[in-house]
Symmetry: C2
Subunit: 105 residues, 2 copies
């Protein structure tokens, strides 16, 4: 491997998930359950934080970092991701908004 | 302390910083320098990631988590924050947008 092998850029994801009215608590619970599965099952996922907005009712943000494009590509194809998607579907009021970023540290 | 003492809620912050045109690289460098100072100088800061948007030119997002309101309140009053603010000022094209959230994990 060359010494100046460019360190693979870490990939960050910020996702916005909006609850169906009346499903705010359930969405939060499904997201934190899902986070535990991701962190346990995906060593390439370096960060997976669930946070509830204080300014937008029923809105949650996910803060994620993956060690490589391969780790990010594998994420939606894991068995637990299918479970998470099913669990979330009942409580989402809008399609998730997902932003991809280059993590710099 | 009561047993059912509610665990202090972790506070998450997602901040959007937009570079002055032509200052994109300098803003990124100033942010990553600042991140190193925060992580070294603020034990109450549990997460401080700098990421560059892949969809919005010149936009950086900060993903931060603090262990308590006290840790968050202390953040802007640290000596290094004043240095960071000065370093950023020359490269910002708009006022930072800051969102506060309750971190759930």
């Amino acid at each position: 491997m060359e010494n100046n092998q460019r360190r693979e850029i870490l990939i960050a994801v910020i996702a916005k998930l909006t609850a169906k009215p009346g499903h705010e608590e359930e969405l939060g619970a499904a997201l934190t359950d899902g986070a535990a599965k991701v962190l346990a099952g995906e060593p390439g996922c370096l960060l997976y934080r669930v946070a509830r907005s204080r300014s937008e009712a029923g809105v949650y943000k996910l803060m994620e970092v993956y060690e490589s494009q391969a780790a990010l590509d594998a994420h939606p194809n894991t068995p637990h991701f299918a479970e998470i998607r099913t669990a979330l579907a009942a409580h989402l009021g809008a399609a998730p908004e997902v932003e991809f970023l280059d993590a710099l540290n």
